[in-house]
């Protein structure tokens, strides 16, 4: 099994564009989508329909939008960082806001990175490439995920 990528995004368009961008740069990892914070937490805790870890494995990489209905992205982040079993999971905040306050808040809640959604597909593709090169190729994966190879 290759490590899973979880996209937490309520905007269907943005989720679609990100998936396309990842595919374009050759990311073949399975991608799961959570449409709001509650669903993200349900997925990560393996509750309800997500209890089957074969179908819904723990992700190595999470793209987290901040502006989510029901449960804001920062709260999800906080929740994630309270769980030792998720210590190996990389959380990249991907959001429209470039406000320094939001950036600082994300880091305070121990995000691994903060990316601002660009307006065009090209920009998004460029970002996807950087993410792939660094986090999926160069970065040494934790053992939890490392017996999985990336294609």
């Amino acid at each position: 099994m290759i490590p899973t990528i979880l996209i937490v995004e309520d905007d269907r368009n943005d989720a679609l564009f990100l998936q396309m961008a990842l595919k374009r740069v050759g990311v073949a990892n399975p991608v799961q989508i959570a449409v709001d914070g509650k669903e993200a937490v349900a997925y990560l805790s393996g509750s309800g329909k997500f209890s089957d870890r074969n179908q819904f494995p723990i992700p190595y990489l999470i793209f987290l939008d901040l502006k989510l209905p029901q449960m804001p992205g920062l709260e999800v982040l906080k929740w994630v960082r309270e769980r030792p079993e998720l210590n190996s999971t990389v959380v990249i905040v991907l959001t429209s806001s470039s406000d320094p306050h939001d950036v600082d808040a994300a880091y305070q809640h121990r995000a691994n990175a903060y990316l601002v959604k660009p307006s065009g597909l090209d920009g998004l593709t460029d970002l996807a490439k950087s993410v792939k090169d660094f986090w999926l190729v160069k970065n040494q994966l934790p053992s939890l995920f490392s017996d999985m190879a990336t294609p």
């Binding site: 368009n13 564009f17 959001t95 597909l121």
Partner: protein, 556 residues
């Protein structure tokens, strides 16, 4: 009658013996001794004798002559029995009856010894004279002298009485004058004034009292003044006044009095007691001073103070409310901006993204025009997105707390140049001339300013020209302010546009010529304002521009 010699032959008394009496006496008119001895040489002899002993002597040939002397002042009258028979004597005695009460001119009568005749004459004299000394002739010089002395002593006592009476009269006059002055003063001073007996019975009011109250003494005397007191205050005033009458302590009270027009005015009243030499109170002297205006002013002042406090409290409340409202508005604005960041931009991302996808995935089935249209959709969306981001930057600068701290400009500028490829060769030549100082500013704001200014400098060049920017700083006169200059070789700004370039969304060129949102310089201007600096520029069309920012220098 045969005149007998007054003096027998024996020798004159020794002068020294008699000097003890005569020497200490003044030779005053008051003490002149009048001699009436018209017959014989007695007068001359007596006069000579008395004169030698320093008595002041005047000889009168006739009793009526004496009257003049007596009017001028006489100490004693020596008259012979014979002279008493003269018609002038009657006139003299009539005149003597008119002496003032204190005066009793001593008479010394020299008799012949004939009793019956003498007693008749004496009766005549007795009415008018007080002290009559009878000396029977012949008499010795000593006898005469002693008699005269006695008479003069008596006279002197009378003069003392006269003087005392005169002094008393003077004192009385002075006292009356003093009283009159006092009354005058009491009548004419400004305040109302009055005087009372020790029991409080008022016997005098000055004219001010009557002028103000429109009353008469008959109405007011005694305790009549109660009539012009305000019923609400009368009992307390009377109580206090009576207690002071009893204790003798000076009295003070404030109360309303009714004027002749029927309205009441407030008076500050005081009274103090006069004491006699034994310490007993003889009378009270009191005044009432009109303090109505003062009181009204004080009341108004208190009222005003009260109002002021109230307004002040209201104001504080209002300020608090407004501040709270303002904070709320700012919060709403923040929330609004936040929403804009996400909600406005996401449809744009969709527009842009799908337009691009269609162009890419349907490129086979699309003609040039269609592809072009799709491109324009993408471009517009991208442009709007940039605009939104610029507006967001602006609002952030407006509402963010501008904490000013020392900023290393050199580091900041170099950092920005290194961050953007468009600021580096081969795309642009940006050099820093000399060292850039440390300034008092906000790092975030300054980054924004520098990137915007440099961004403009490299953007607005003639097509095909490589942008060249020179950055340097110099300290202004005084040493506190430093000016940082950004000089470029760009297209410059025409004079008619010099005012326009700082306006929001204002662009000189079309998007086709030079892209941009028209917000960049507004952001720089706002940021500099919030850092309490100044900014400006010099520019000539076709000759490039020099933009500058002035900030406080940090002392090394």
């Amino acid at each position: 009658m045969e005149s007998q010699s007054t003096f027998p032959a024996p020798a004159q008394p020794h002068r020294d013996e008699l000097n003890g009496h005569a020497g200490t006496q003044e030779k005053a008119h008051d003490e002149q001794v009048l001699l009436i001895a018209p017959t014989g040489h007695d007068a001359a002899a007596m006069a000579s004798l008395l004169d030698e002993l320093n008595f002041h002597v005047s000889i009168c040939n006739d009793p009526t002559e004496c009257l003049e002397q007596i009017a001028a002042g006489a100490g004693a009258l020596v008259i012979t029995e014979e002279a008493l028979e003269l018609p002038g004597a009657t006139i003299l005695f009539e005149a003597l009856k008119e002496q003032p009460a204190w005066s009793e001119l001593p008479l010394i009568v020299l008799t012949s010894g004939d009793e019956p005749q003498f007693s008749r004459l004496l009766d005549q004299a007795a009415d008018s004279a007080g002290t009559i000394t009878l000396l029977e002739r012949p008499l010795s010089a000593m006898t005469l002298v002693r008699a005269v002395e006695g008479a003069l002593n008596s006279r002197r006592r009378q003069y003392r009485v006269r003087d005392l009476l005169e002094e008393q009269e003077r004192n009385q006059r002075a006292l009356r004058q003093s009283e009159a002055q006092f009354r005058d003063m009491a009548e004419n001073i400004g305040p109302l004034a009055w005087m009372a007996n020790p029991d409080g019975w008022i016997f005098f009011y000055n004219k001010r009292w009557f002028e103000y109250t429109g009353t008469t003494l008959e109405e007011m005397q005694g305790w009549g003044w109660e009539k012009v007191h305000h019923p609400d205050h009368l009992s307390r005033v009377v109580e206090k006044w009576q207690s002071h009458l009893k204790s003798g302590v000076p009295w003070e009270d404030t109360f309303p009095l009714r004027g002749k027009d029927g309205t009441y005015r407030w008076f500050l009243s005081r009274a103090f007691p006069f004491h006699d030499s034994g310490g007993k109170i003889t009378r009270w002297f009191g005044t009432n001073t009109d303090v109505h205006e003062l009181r009204e002013t004080q009341d108004a002042l208190h009222g005003a103070q009260g109002k002021l406090l109230q307004y002040s409290a209201n104001l504080e409340r209002t300020v608090e409310e407004r501040t709270a409202k303002l904070r709320e508005t700012v919060r709403e604005l923040e929330a609004f901006s936040y929403s804009i960041a996400h909600d406005l931009r996401s449809p744009l991302r969709a527009m842009n993204g799908y337009a691009q996808l269609v162009r890419e995935q349907c490129s086979q089935s699309l003609d040039e025009t269609s592809r072009d249209y799709l491109q324009r959709i993408s471009n517009s969306a991208a442009r709007l997105d940039t605009l939104i981001q610029d507006v967001l930057s602006y609002t952030r600068i407006v509402r963010a707390p501008a904490e000013l701290r020392p900023v290393d400009l050199d580091e900041l500028v170099r950092g920005i140049i290194h961050s953007y490829p468009e600021f580096q060769p081969p795309r642009a030549d940006i050099e820093i001339d000399g060292a850039l100082p440390r300034v008092l500013g906000n790092e975030g704001f300054l980054s924004q300013c520098v990137s915007n200014l440099l961004g403009n400098a490299v953007k607005f060049v003639k097509p095909g020209q490589k942008p060249h920017v020179c950055i340097w700083a110099h300290v202004k006169r005084g040493g506190d302010v430093v000016r940082i200059c950004f000089e470029d070789n760009g297209i410059g700004i025409a004079p008619e546009n010099h005012d326009r370039i700082f306006n929001m969304f204002e662009r000189i060129h079309s998007v086709d010529q030079y892209e941009g949102t028209g917000i960049g310089l507004s952001i720089v201007k706002k940021a500099v304002e919030r850092m309490r600096g100044r900014m400006g520029f010099q520019s000539e069309l076709g000759k490039g521009s020099e933009f500058w920012i002035e900030l406080l220098k940090i002392k090394d």
